[in-house]
């Protein structure tokens, strides 16, 4: 186990170095001119020159890369080019709005999906099962933008059940995040039900289930104590791998509902060629992705003794 961990962590280093390289490279060919964005349309040439020097735009690629690595190790990406706020502060500010949508959305979505798929797996082949399966495939066939547009227009604009736009820090956020959470659930539940149903059906087909039934256990006990318990392995793994995406959040929902979270912040930063913010977000996203993948592998081995990590 320790050897496995060490090897995975050692492998993460070149992957993260690669991510940094690609990010900087993409920025160099795709990025706009941050100076133009900061100084407006007709800046003083001397000022432009001074700012370019200050931002390190004339440094060689290799030097910028080394600087990027240094910043990643110390987690100090300096200040945003757009408004001089420390990047750390931008992160701290955006975290709550993002999590207040993504965490409830994710948890409600997953538990709803588990409950539904357990129910339909028990009555597989029935009208209920076929209806739910059909609804799930229909649900995943609608564009996410349609969900957001219709949800906002109908539930907020027309029926006035929710506010159309805005956010408030603290408990008042509930009012503003309710509709985005609802849409998050609608967007994710179809995919999850399809996946969980397959996982659960695979378990139901196993020999131990027949044995449990033959022992005379009740159907409820078979489903909960045996089938669900074993299905939890792939379900928990899938949930673990999804964690990093909760922190980056749904930028579309954030843009549409005016939630000042990390997703919409990254989106604005990319548009403004705000390199310090882009660098910080990319590396945090990549580190989390790599980290939670390792956690998922570990969890797999912990819950299933047949799997041996090497």
């Amino acid at each position: 186990m320790t050897r496995f961990l060490l090897r995975r962590i050692a492998y993460a280093v070149p992957v993260l170095l690669g991510v940094a390289l690609i990010t900087l490279f993409l920025f160099h060919i795709a990025g706009g001119d941050p100076v133009a964005i900061k100084l407006g349309k007709n800046p003083d040439p001397a000022e432009v020159e001074a700012l370019r020097q200050e931002l390190g735009l004339y440094d060689s690629f290799a030097r910028q890369y080394v600087e990027f690595i240094r910043q990643t190790v110390t987690f100090d990406y300096g200040r945003s080019w757009a408004d001089d706020t420390p990047v750390r502060e931008i992160f701290r500010r955006g975290l709550f709005p993002t999590l207040s949508v993504s965490v409830p959305g994710f948890l409600i979505g997953v538990f709803l999906a588990i409950a539904v798929s357990l129910l339909v797996a028990v009555v597989r082949g029935s009208l209920l099962d076929r209806t739910v399966t059909a609804l799930a495939v229909a649900g995943i066939s609608i564009s996410s933008l349609v969900y957001i547009l219709l949800g906002q227009w109908l539930l907020a604009d027309q029926w006035k059940w929710f506010p159309v736009w805005g956010f408030s820090y603290g408990p008042g956020a509930v009012v503003f995040v309710a509709l985005p959470i609802l849409i998050w659930v609608a967007l994710s539940v179809g995919t999850d039900v399809r996946y969980f149903r397959t996982v659960i059906l695979e378990e139901i087909g196993q020999d131990y289930v027949r044995t449990a039934r033959a022992k005379g256990l009740s159907e409820t006990r078979v489903m909960v104590a045996h089938v669900l318990r074993n299905s939890l392995i792939p379900i928990v793994t899938r949930m673990t791998i999804a964690v990093p995406f909760l922190i980056t959040g749904s930028f579309l929902l954030e843009i549409f509902f005016g939630i000042p979270g990390l997703g919409s912040t990254l989106f604005t930063a990319i548009q403004n060629s705000d390199l310090p913010v882009v660098k910080a977000f990319t590396m945090v996203g990549a580190v989390l992705y790599v980290f939670f993948n390792i956690v998922a592998d570990l969890l797999y081995a912990v819950v299933d003794p047949r799997i041996r990590l090497e």
């Binding site: 564009s143 349609v146 547009l149 059906l201 989106f267 996203g285």
Partner: protein, 315 residues
């Protein structure tokens, strides 16, 4: 059974799923509409009918946004906020969806299959390089990768090179952009699957025999290994096709997608302001067009999986 093959067997299993057959027919119907739209475009030439308002076309009685009406066939599905025919725009959007879906999924599958085949077959450093590449690409936040690639095509040197290519006149850069982004960001899943499958197949007796006979690597790869992963390729192609059509909507909404011609993405993104004026029909029609195509491909993909990979069959 005589005169049967695995493909024929799979087709027989597929045919038993009646919903999937209906969806396959629907998909073919869409493909025909897409071809027709391309044909009309070539036949008509500029100015394209989809760019004109019904007023300009010579129907002065239809002014501005009109709900679906039976007055003239161009207004059957209503007109947009600018007074353009929803029917004509949705019709041309089908072409865009197919270009994006076919080429986007094609590029993705090409990259994924090639890298997966090479990694699984040759192993050693080739394998390590491929695994490293996809681990790295998968670790980059998707939003960043997607937007950065989109910006590169639009404004970078790639745009310059692209304009010089022979097919640049037929495939606008906005469309190529989506194809490129989908291709470059969707190949990892298939690459992993193909690599794992090829690793299993590589050591089978008949591959060893082919090698002992002195066949070259390309021949073994294409004739003997590739057919073993074709089912994965086909299923993945259909799923990426769906992903491409959905990505067109998002990218167009973000302003880095289709811009010179009407697409479903444009109609859906345009609904943001239209809905506030009570104009709901462009969203309904384009959303429905996209929904039915996506649904049919999703159902065909499910049936393909059941038919081609009976081990995965359950229920």
């Amino acid at each position: 059974m005589t005169g049967t093959s695995p493909t024929l067997e799979a087709w027989k299993r597929f045919k038993r799923d009646r919903a999937a057959v209906v969806c396959l027919v629907l998909f073919i119907g869409y493909a025909v509409v897409a071809l027709l739209a391309q044909g009309v475009e070539l036949w008509d030439g500029p100015p394209f009918r989809y760019e004109l308002t019904l007023h300009e076309i010579g129907l002065p009685f239809i002014e501005g946004a009109t709900p679906p009406s039976s007055e003239h066939w161009l207004a059957w599905l209503g007109t947009t906020a600018q007074g353009k025919s929803v029917l004509v725009r949705t019709f041309h959007g089908t072409k865009v969806a197919f270009v994006v879906g076919m080429f986007g999924a094609g590029l993705s599958v090409l990259i994924g299959t090639t890298l997966g085949l090479l990694a699984g077959y040759f192993g050693k450093w080739v394998d390590e390089l491929v695994v490293y590449t996809y681990s790295t690409v998968a670790s980059i936040p998707y939003l960043l990768l997607m937007l950065a690639l989109a910006f590169i095509v639009r404004q970078g040197p790639v745009a310059e090179i692209y304009r010089g290519l022979p097919f640049a006149d037929y495939l606008s850069i906005g469309l190529f952009n989506i194809v490129f982004v989908v291709g470059m960001t969707s190949w990892v899943t298939l690459c992993r699957l193909v690599r794992a499958e090829v690793k299993k197949v590589r050591n089978l007796d008949y591959i060893q025999a082919a090698r002992a006979l002195g066949l070259g690597h390309p021949r073994i790869l294409f004739r003997h290994v590739l057919p073993n992963v074709m089912h994965l390729v086909l299923i993945n192609f259909s799923l990426t096709f769906v992903r491409a059509i959905k990505s067109e909507v998002i990218l167009t909404f973000l302003g880095v997608g289709v811009d010179r011609e009407p697409s479903w993405g444009q109609m859906i993104a345009g609904a943001k302001s239209e809905l506030m004026q009570g104009i709901w029909w462009p969203l309904l029609v384009s959303g429905l067009a996209l929904f039915l195509l996506t649904l049919s491909v999703n159902i065909v993909a499910d049936a393909l999986r059941d038919a081609l990979d009976p081990r995965l069959k359950n229920g």
